[in-house]
């Protein structure tokens, strides 16, 4: 237990470089290792950790209960194949001992001993992968996936497999422009952040890979905080405030988002890998405890409200600063 816990802390992508947080187009090239006060992260695009099998089992359960979490408009099938054929080799490189990929022309054989997966399929042949390339990809990587099509001078969120959404709905947002998806976010439009992000993404050239982080807070280690299941988890935001277990239940939730221009389809592949760390785990790193307390205390009300922190942030700051 101690080992698992410290590994989670050591690999955690703590996102704050200063004592205050505002939205920005904080993109940087992928694959650059970042050193943190507790360890580091970021050397690769895919990050497989101790929760790999458990999180993929959770994704299967979410999808079984609600298939609308996987969306693919008909014109996105090439992009889905492109995402799969780009990321399976990446996963094979990430897990060299326990996965293998054999390619004979378009005939691919994938074996993943960590999950007990063995599949042979033909790239581009939909019948060879009945659940579809996007769903199959989502069964092998912890990241949520959104595929953005580029046309009419804009990006369109036309496909996605999102089971671990931080308070949004892929099923509702599918088919929207990138700017529309972000419509409800406060401040970012006045600051031009989303427009700049879209311009940046539209200029990505084939194979280019960037990343950014985003964050919020979640009660318990619940990854599925989608709009669909709000009725199941919304109340915890209030209940946690007076719960003596608050430091164990309240988590900093960080998304490491990768942005990859897929070569064949020209789609932008948006990977969202979610990491959660409880306040108690976070506080084992003194720099993080102080910094996160400062960020939370300073965060403007509208941003805290949009992130859903309003009910408990005072209690969180109190606990972080009382130690």
């Amino acid at each position: 237990m101690t080992t698992a816990l410290s590994s989670r802390v050591a690999r955690f992508p703590f996102p704050f470089a200063t004592d205050s947080y505002r939205y920005s187009t904080n993109v940087e090239p992928a694959r650059r290792p970042v050193t943190t006060a507790a360890g580091g992260w970021g050397a690769g695009v895919l990050d497989v950790d101790d929760d790999y099998a458990a999180e993929l089992a959770e994704r299967r359960a979410v999808l079984a209960a609600d298939p609308t979490r996987c969306q693919e408009l008909p014109h996105m099938r090439v992009a889905s194949w492109d995402a799969l054929t780009t990321l399976l080799p990446e996963l094979a490189d990430t897990l060299p001992g326990t996965t293998s990929l054999d390619r004979v022309g378009d005939r691919w054989t994938w074996r993943n001993d960590r999950l007990g997966t063995a599949r042979t399929f033909t790239v581009g042949d939909d019948d060879s992968l009945p659940e579809g390339p996007l769903a199959f990809l989502g069964s092998q990587i912890q990241d949520d996936v959104v595929l953005l099509d580029q046309r009419e001078g804009a990006l369109w969120a036309d496909a996605g497999l999102v089971t671990f959404a931080a308070d949004w709905s892929m099923g509702f947002d599918v088919g929207m422009r990138f700017l529309e998806v972000h419509g409800p976010v406060p401040r970012v439009h006045e600051a031009g952040v989303v427009q700049r992000a879209e311009q940046f993404l539209m200029r990505l050239q084939p194979g280019e890979e960037y990343r950014r982080t985003n964050w919020t807070m979640t009660v318990d280690r619940r990854l599925d905080t989608s709009t669909e299941t709000y009725a199941d988890w919304g109340r915890d935001r209030r209940l946690v405030v007076d719960d003596p277990a608050l430091p164990d239940r309240l988590h900093l939730r960080v998304e490491v988002q990768h942005l990859i221009r897929l070569g064949v389809s020209n789609a932008v592949c948006f990977l969202v890998r979610t990491h959660v760390l409880s306040l108690r785990e976070l506080a084992t790193v003194p720099e993080w405890r102080q910094r996160f307390a400062a960020v939370l205390a300073e965060l403007p009300d509208d941003m805290a409200d949009y992130k859903g922190l309003t009910r408990f942030r005072g209690a969180a700051v109190d606990w972080l600063t009382s130690r």
């Binding site: 509702f172 929207m176 700017l179 419509g183 439009h189 009725a231």
Partner: protein, 170 residues
């Protein structure tokens, strides 16, 4: 900060005119006020263009089926113009967009925004309502009180509603 920053459509205060480069047009009017607009549009279309005018009380299945059939047979150069209450214009626009018509090929005139269609992500039912944005409406499907959110799906032609009291302790 205008329409391009949000999914909520901002209908211009000026009524659009027929696109002079169109070779064929379909004009669809909903309700008396919408049909008055399509009549005016038809008079403004330059000579030599093929014009068809449809009139309907609202965006029901019958008129949307006709729209779908017309799109399937249309050639490049065709334009769609929609006039009427927002709920009907959004529903018809959604059909057109799903069939591959571009924003650049659609012009809309909205006569009122009172009625809305609100999508419930909790039970996937769409409810007709006159609640304002940031107001509440009960869901026809699951009965939950839905907060009408400032977020609109172009493909569904509906506002997002989410459970208004999910954070209340019963």
């Amino acid at each position: 900060m205008g329409a391009e920053h949000t999914s909520v459509p901002r209908w211009g205060t000026e009524r659009p005119a027929p696109d002079p480069s169109a070779r064929a047009l379909l004009l669809v009017g909903f309700g008396a006020r919408g049909c008055a607009i399509t009549t005016a549009w038809a008079a403004d279309v330059p000579a030599g263009r093929a014009v068809e005018v449809l009139a309907a009380d609202d965006a029901d299945e019958a008129v949307l089926a006709v729209l779908t059939a017309r799109i399937a047979g249309a050639r490049v150069g065709w334009r769609l113009m929609l006039a009427g209450p927002e709920a009907d214009v959004l529903a018809a626009r959604a059909v057109a967009l799903r069939a591959g018509v571009l924003d650049a090929e659609i012009r809309c005139a909205v006569t009122s925004t009172e009625r809305k269609r609100v999508y419930c992500p909790h039970c996937r039912t769409t409810t007709a309502t006159t609640a304002p944005v940031a107001g509440e409406t009960p869901c026809d499907g699951c009965g939950r009180r839905l907060h009408v959110y400032a977020h609109v799906s172009r493909r569904a032609g509906a506002y997002l509603g989410f459970m208004a009291d999910a954070e209340e302790v019963a």
